[in-house]
């Protein structure tokens, strides 16, 4: 997709008319294109007017129902999320990189679009990822965290309610000989829940999904280097971990 092409999508985006995974690709573009973001903001405001123009009173009983239900719903704190209306925020990436030589830094960095637009060879897989991502994003409590560390960017999408998490990475160097990367959900019901092994593709990109529900109680996602085949619990310090809000 050329940049002229992608720029022309501002209208479709403001109308929420871009299907996944293309939408994710466009959001990535937005994060880097100030002019596009400005245009999208204006066009979203315009679209909102189309919506306001068709206002209709809801059934009166709905109000009491909603007022009763908010008492059971915890409010989110005002920290780095990107809300529903906005392009991905450039919020600080909650990453703690634990001591490690730069050469083996694994940075979970994602370029949603890039990862999702791979070669045909892994289309099935990326489609599955896109489906999961789209599902997670539709959850009421979906969290999408994007950001950058030292020029590298990353994204994690998860919903505690649904119990799903998708982690996408790029810029991942090949694991050392005889080793593999293993992703963990930590601090939850299972102290070290293995999400699985990841192997970056030729361009250093990797993605992994966990739908077991462990994310509901987990406090961090971490990545360790393990012997080939993986371990039952981390045998090395995580080379990277991220806090889940």
């Amino acid at each position: 997709m050329t940049s002229a092409d992608i720029h022309a999508l501002t209208g479709a985006y403001a109308l929420n008319a871009i299907p996944e995974p293309e939408r994710a690709a466009f959001e990535r573009h937005l994060a880097e294109c100030g002019a596009c973001a400005q245009e999208v903001a204006e066009l979203q405001a315009t679209a909102a007017r189309l919506g306001e123009a068709v206002a209709e009173s809801p059934p009166p009983a709905m109000k009491a129902a909603v007022m009763a239900r908010i008492r059971d719903i915890r409010q989110l704190p005002p920290v780095g999320s990107d809300g529903a209306a906005a392009p991905p925020a450039r919020s600080p990436w909650p990453v703690r990189i634990l001591g490690m030589a730069a050469a083996v830094l694994l940075v979970v960095s994602v370029s949603l679009g890039v990862v999702l637009y791979q070669t045909r060879a892994d289309l099935a897989d990326t489609r599955a990822q896109a489906a999961v991502m789209s599902e997670i994003l539709s959850a009421g409590d979906a969290e999408l965290v994007t950001g950058a560390v030292d020029g590298l960017s990353g994204t994690v999408v998860y919903s505690r309610e649904r119990g799903d998490i998708l982690l996408l990475a790029d810029g991942v160097p090949a694991a050392p000989e005889g080793k593999t990367y293993q992703v963990w959900l930590m601090g939850g019901r299972t102290p070290f829940h293995s999400v699985g092994l990841v192997t970056p593709d030729g361009r250093g990109r990797a993605a992994i999904v966990d739908t077991t529900g462990e994310v509901a109680s987990a406090t961090n996602v971490g990545i360790t280097i393990e012997p080939e085949g993986g371990s039952a619990a981390p045998s090395t310090e995580p080379i990277m971990q991220m806090d889940l809000s």
Binding site: L9, A45, R49, E52, E56, S57, I73, P77
Partner: protein, 199 residues
């Protein structure tokens, strides 16, 4: 005019008091202020419900989605930032997304069997004319929609009020994807200028 007024019954023509600023309300809601939330509900539930109903159509499901949107506002009020645009835009964008999520997941099964609905689909804005709560807003939007080319208007309405993706709009109208993308953008830009939207 009398005819029109009657059709608008059930919704007050003029609000009894000036509408509170949704951004200020959201700010208070973020701190757990339930009475502010109640006022926010009064201010936005009409636009939210109207839009959701337009897209989802089924009354029970529309109510469900509207409630989800309202609860989401309660939950995520602290995440609203004025830098990103007005509170109303934030609310309506959320409502649109939730409504579209609902119909797209339902539609994937049915896979838009009825192309025959094109006629009906082509006039989604007029269809709801009788239901609008703010006539001024409605008239202005209608006037501006009228300033678009027929093809721009049709594309924008199918995407926004029917919740179609631009690919679906392209298929439905038998028009190349690139043309649809351009039309949606040009159409909205023209709307923006006509409505005098800053952001």
């Amino acid at each position: 005019m009398a005819e029109r007024a009657r059709r608008l019954s059930g919704v007050p023509d003029t609000p009894s008091e000036p509408a509170p600023d949704p951004a200020a309300l959201l700010h208070r809601v973020a701190r757990g202020d339930e009475s502010a939330f109640e006022r926010l509900y009064d201010a936005v539930s009409g636009p939210v419900f109207g839009l959701v109903r337009r897209i989802v159509r089924d009354p029970a499901q529309s109510e469900e989605v509207t409630q989800e949107v309202m609860l989401e506002l309660w939950r995520t009020a602290a995440r609203y930032s004025p830098d990103r645009g007005s509170a109303m835009t934030w609310v309506m964008t959320l409502a649109h997304r939730r409504a579209v999520d609902r119909v797209r997941s339902a539609q994937s099964a049915t896979d838009r069997e009825d192309r025959a609905h094109r006629q009906e689909a082509a006039r989604p804005f007029d269809e709801v004319a009788e239901q609008v709560s703010t006539r001024l807003e409605y008239e202005q939007v209608r006037r501006c929609l009228g300033s678009l080319t027929e093809l721009q208007r049709e594309s924008v309405e199918l995407a926004y009020y029917k919740g179609l993706t631009y690919r679906e709009v392209s298929e439905l109208l038998g028009t190349p994807l690139g043309t649809i993308k351009t039309r949606l953008r040009d159409g909205l830009i023209r709307m923006r200028d006509c409505l005098g939207v800053a952001r």
